[in-house]
Symmetry: C2
Subunit: 472 residues, 2 copies
Amino acid sequence: MSWKPNRHSHLTIHEQIVEWIKSRIERGDWTVGTKLPTQRQLAAQCEVNRSTVQLALDELRADGWLESKVGSGVYVANNVWNMHLRKVQPNWKKHIESSIYKPNYHTIQLINEFEQNDRIIRLGTGELSPELLPTKLLEQSLQEISLEQKAIGYSSPQGSEKLRGILCKYLKARGIETAPENILIVSGALQALQLIAMGLLEQGSIVFQEQPSYLHSVHPFQSAGMRMISVLRNSRLGGHLRKIKRNRQSLFYCVPTLNNPTGHSWSLEEKKHLYEVCKELQIPIIEDDVYHELLFQRPSPPIKSFDTSGQVLYIGSVSKTLSPGLRIGWVVAPEPVVKRLADIKMQTDYGSSAFSQEIVAHWISTGLYDIHLENLRTQLKKRAAFVEGLLEQHFQKVASWKNSEGGFYIWLRFHEPVVNKALFLKLLHYHVLINPGYIYETRDLHHIRLSYAYASLEELKEGLLTLLELIK
Amino acid sequence: MSWKPNRHSHLTIHEQIVEWIKSRIERGDWTVGTKLPTQRQLAAQCEVNRSTVQLALDELRADGWLESKVGSGVYVANNVWNMHLRKVQPNWKKHIESSIYKPNYHTIQLINEFEQNDRIIRLGTGELSPELLPTKLLEQSLQEISLEQKAIGYSSPQGSEKLRGILCKYLKARGIETAPENILIVSGALQALQLIAMGLLEQGSIVFQEQPSYLHSVHPFQSAGMRMISVLRNSRLGGHLRKIKRNRQSLFYCVPTLNNPTGHSWSLEEKKHLYEVCKELQIPIIEDDVYHELLFQRPSPPIKSFDTSGQVLYIGSVSKTLSPGLRIGWVVAPEPVVKRLADIKMQTDYGSSAFSQEIVAHWISTGLYDIHLENLRTQLKKRAAFVEGLLEQHFQKVASWKNSEGGFYIWLRFHEPVVNKALFLKLLHYHVLINPGYIYETRDLHHIRLSYAYASLEELKEGLLTLLELIK
């Protein structure tokens, strides 16, 4: 928030705060039922004591502008429009509640919100630490980029042809033979899932997933009316899928390399098994491969590399490796699928940032990307070892884990079912943010997704020890 | 397409083409029912004669890999999988046809496709000509941008705080008082509409629009199950809206400044009239204001500037002014609405490109943007005058129009109902692409949206004369 009281005004500070809040309500910025920032937040913003803020809020409450709800906070009063402004306004609350899209789970909304807070220690964030991002190199590379007039206009439906050509070569090294016409550039992997939900499935379609699954924490499919079904990959998988699927459209979503949230990677045999099962049942596979560059050992080939039936929709991205701020990912798929998804993307946002696409093309084609990845893996390996050391030293009695094979995560399992929302909230109170297992599988109260990629080493230590203390 | 035959191979050129096409089919890139590029396109790609391509296609047809459909083209044959590959593949066609999202209208798909063709004269494109984009200046400005580590990570849900702060000042000059918390950064205005559809409306909700309407040519609302109803803004508007709306959720979408496709701007009184009518009926207004910087005269204040009921969702963008490739726009709305839309955006694509946001922040805050706009208006004015000159010289007998007030468009009305799909296709044959009126209003066979912003002056002249000839 940018407003601050004026120390030289003829009004007192608290009068100014009162007037400012009234004006926000009058202007419709804060509609009926809007929750105000906390006293602490308001005091910080206005750079005044909390008592000054309290005085202002008390006055507004007394005048009927605001109302308190016990244990929840201060809200714009229900009858403020009748009382003070003699006007009606749209019932936004009703609009929001009756609309199509599901809100994020409360815990995830809180995670999104608190991730903006600089003072918080983020133990679960699925993102590279700012210090691991090649910020200076990116900045320098901007100077080497020459823009073509055509490139900064509206994009072609499938995205920059230059970038798609470069990706073909890049994907070849990953064992995938493809052509630019089989690639769609998207604004990150999540958008790919969104487009697949809208463009290839009907309401009531089934999306199979492993358990736990990243897909439980976002819901592109659920919001579009699809059913998510978690399955085990064992010898009876085929019969199981067949029984559930029957005649319905379905998809199988998986992260075979460095799974999110568990960090686990499948063997080549496991990949082939799933492919064969899905091929027989004609169930397309979404292979989410956004972490493979971060494997400490050489990765085994992706499912897409032995897909001869046009069965696999393969997703890649630079969000986990170069910069999430670029918002660039890609889908490799049969041509009719790519054309369909591109058509919907054109209807949704008219393509991804041409500037971001130029930057990614530059980094991959010049080899800057490969050099960066080499360095990044070294850094991540060090961080993983540091956290594993802390776990061995302090967590042996309360939890178990497998050492990391790469990527960001350790799927830390507590012996006791202690990871509930109360723990999540209590940790927030101590400025520690975790990604609890229950956002990846509702009934899981044992795990947290521990990320060694984001917080600094000192923060990781402090956060883990705070966690340990609260659990004990 | 990147593949080309190898002149030094032991295989003949036509054998190589046959093998290449087979491999695309085997790999699943071209699934059953995929339409192949035309002979002409294949010949151009392979840099061979059409007869060589024909020979290859004939052979593949004879062997059952391909099949022709009269007047439509060559397709991957239906039984190719049984015959040649003894395997099944997902029925992508069924997936696509039964899925949720509507495909673009065929004419619009053709427009999207042919806009990629360099040889076509684009008479209707709603985009600045490459020569009007400040490409060199944008390239130079990249060198002045310093990135902060935090800025290139995942964005905060509402977008870059820096950019939102800068936009507050920018919007103030447009008469809109707002705060960073009331702004959401989006990837262009179309995404704003998409988020509003998903986040504020239910299936069966009504979206009112003027006739003709840009919204008829894209369908974020229709695909989400909303009903579009076109209305006239006259003295009976209130009663009319009330009767249709009844208890349903509804919105009023409008482009009051430099309407798309008509180029018309409302008077201040018209804006106030709509606001009062909608306020009484509690119908929120979407004010799409992406063209206002291009008005040749000073624009009158937007509806949002006198919105005291939090009724107006205001949309702005740099796509029509600076570069569509940036994919940056914004929504100004009451806080609960902005929070709701931001939550959905986080679930959709995790925010817009941080790089694009930095560039826009730089251009607006340094004043580069204002200088560019000044120059752009001058250029557009010259182009408008040129086209109006052509129209006066050649079109007086067949059509009527109003001279442009700014922006990109002249809404050219032919006296006879000649603007049908046959004309559209015939013009394509002559490499001229128009935006026919029927994509903005189904029954309109009189208008085309003539854009003087995209094609070069020579192309504009050639295209218009071709159009005139075909119509006569």
